[in-house]
Amino acid sequence: MELLLSVLPADGSWITFDQFKAQAQAVGARIDLWRRGKQQGLLETRLPDGYTSASQLEIRKVV
């Protein structure tokens, strides 16, 4: 989980989920752990109002 969280900005700013996956894959982190991290309140995801594409999904570390 620490490795996965390490790819998210330390200041809690949002990045796209696709960017997060690419960076997690680059360091060999388990991307599927994002679900556990969300349930544990370590990270959160959001969709913009009236979103049209999953590419707009964003994720951030809870700081």
């Binding site: 989920f17 696709d18 996956k21 991307i31 599927d32 994002w34 679900r35 969300k38 349930q39 995801t45 959001r46 969709l47 109002d49 009236g50 979103y51 049209t52 999953a54 590419s55 707009q56 999904l57």
Partner: protein, 155 residues
């Protein structure tokens, strides 16, 4: 007994059969209806990206709107197949499940009947439903999606 608030989307498949997916949410008030409608729209979009069928109709208390009667083009889009979504109350951890017709099999983990929870469309769906849905037992309790599996008949 807490008040029940629920909605559904009806899915149309290739052979023009219909099947609903239903969910519970908190009470609608004058103060939260704008946010509710946004979350409801997000959930509609999210479901549309994880199934192969046509979202034919949506419904919640006070809304019963036909969205489309055009069947999907893909012959494999059949309501006999479902996403079986398992979820829990965020506080009580009590487990529930519901179904979504016409799953998009491109979203499966290869060699399995499990949805790929790292797929961005699946992640967007999980985000949308967790933002809106509440436990059927308590309309103030949020939910956690635990997993999604494709199910169907095996004769």
């Amino acid at each position: 007994m807490a008040a029940k608030h629920y909605g559904s989307f009806t899915i149309l498949d290739y052979s023009e059969e219909k099947s609903p997916t239903s969910f519970s949410f908190g009470g609608i008030t004058a103060l939260n209806i704008a946010g509710f409608l946004t979350q409801f729209g997000n959930l509609r979009t999210a479901i549309g990206n994880i199934i192969t069928g046509t979202i034919q109709k949506e419904k919640w208390v006070g809304d019963d709107t036909v969205l489309s009667n055009t069947p999907p083009a893909a012959s494999a889009s059949q309501v006999e197949l479902k996403w079986l979504v398992t979820y829990e109350g965020a506080t009580t951890k009590k487990k529930f499940h519901y179904e979504i017709p016409t799953p998009d099999t491109d979203k499966l983990v290869p060699g399995s009947d499990e949805a790929d929870m790292t797929d961005t469309d699946i992640a967007a769906y999980v985000t949308a439903v967790e933002a809106l849905a509440k436990s059927p037992d308590d309309d103030t309790e949020g939910i956690n999606v635990l997993g999604m599996r494709m199910v169907g008949r095996n004769i």
